[in-house]
Amino acid sequence: MQENYLAKWLSGELSGEELREFENSEEFASYQKLKDVSSKLMAPDFDSEKALMRLKDEHIANAPKVISLNPFKKFLRVAAVIAVLLTGSYFYINTLNEKVSTEFAERSEVVLPDDSEIFLNADSQISYSEKKWDKNRNIDLKGEAFFKVAKGKKFTVSTDHGTVAVLGTQFNVENREGFFEVTCYEGLVSVTHKNEEIKLPAGNSFLVINGKLISTGTPSGTLPSWMNNESSFESIPLKYVFAELERQFNVKVSTENIDTNLLFTGSFNNTDLNMALKSISTPSKTHFTIDGDNVLFYAGNTQQ
């Protein structure tokens, strides 16, 4: 008998001889009965119409299929664009820096996320990233500000004249056109100017006017004078003094027959314009007149 002859018999594939041999075997009757009875077995009822209805109702009707998919796809496209724009602007806004600025005759105080303090003098601006502050303590400065830096990681002040890096200290940075001064009041400040790094210990100043390094005397006090409403100068060209005056009082200074490169040593009060003008005119031997917001300085008796 060949292999799997029972299967062959059931499918009618036995040869005549094999079939006769099998039919004569004693177990044949049992198999024949099994064949007969099993052919009458029935599986549970299954209504394919009903199943198809169920399939269409439950799954296909709600399924995103070809026709119904199209408007949905359009909607998806629009939704995707909106989502991209939203996330994009979210990240853009997040990367935008915090900005604080002061106008002429204005002061401001900023407390940074790490409790460092910045005092902004008139016509100055700082910007920094609040989100990244923990990782990167960096301030962009235009104008003048006094910094009380909380101890911590490196803190840098970037200006267009150079950068000032500290760990924790108090210092003043003045970054005006053609004028860059850093004064350290506490701790140690590192100033990088034209790729050169200068260490500035407490009680020292670093001054560059028009690209020229100027040696300065020791600053007095523990705060820049402007913090006490006084602008003081030591051998500073008059034009910077006038510029400071303009900033502090929001006035327009013009000069007549005055060499504004003459050095000025002295100070003026930031609250009283008349007193301030006298403070400048007396040591510089000049005269002044006020006309509204305009101040004219003139030399000697040349004023007509």
């Binding site: 799997n4 062959k8 599986a43 299954f46 199943a51 399939l55």
Partner: protein
């Protein structure tokens, strides 16, 4: 070219094969509810992938999906089959002993079927109830025709032994 995505093609495929899918899963696990679910799942999958499955491949696709659905997931239950009493009408004068014997035999057959390994039972019933040729069963199960013949042979042998009490 006809496409399974077309409603009438899909409906035709469904009507042709859903019953076998249902039986196939039922023979394996003996659970009617699961067999109904398997039909739904298999044809939903076919519908979702209608663009990728040609009408010729649709048949083996639904069997494969249905088969994979419960792979190692559910425990087989007793397969309860109905016995068609086709001869009752034309042989009305059967003795009570004969009917008793018939009933006994059917119970034995049921037990014997449930005692079979799942793949032998499925093969046997697909052939006996659904009239599937060995080649078709081989395609559904993804094995050779020879393997199906072997299963069939062993199934018949075990059933007879079980019924005859050998």
């Amino acid at each position: 070219m006809s496409n399974v995505c077309e409603d009438h093609v899909f409906s035709k495929v469904f009507k042709t094969h859903s019953k076998t899918v249902f039986n196939y899963i039922f023979y394996k696990f003996g659970n009617e509810e699961k067999a109904h679910d398997a039909v739904q799942e298999a044809f939903v999958k076919l519908w979702q992938n209608c663009a990728k499955v040609s009408p010729e491949k649709a048949k083996s696709y639904v069997y494969t999906v249905a088969n994979n659905l419960y792979l190692n997931v559910i425990k087989a239950e007793k397969v309860r089959l109905k016995h068609a009493d086709r001869h009752v009408k034309d042989r009305t004068n059967e003795s009570p002993e004969f009917l008793m014997e018939e009933k006994e035999y059917k119970d034995k057959l049921d037990n014997a079927l449930n005692a079979l390994p799942e793949n032998q039972r499925t093969t046997f019933l697909l052939n006996r109830i659904d009239g599937k040729k060995y080649a078709e069963i081989a395609e559904m199960e993804g094995v050779s025709v020879k393997a199906i013949e072997k299963r069939m042979h062993l199934a018949l042998k075990s059933l007879r032994e079980h019924i005859d009490g050998i």
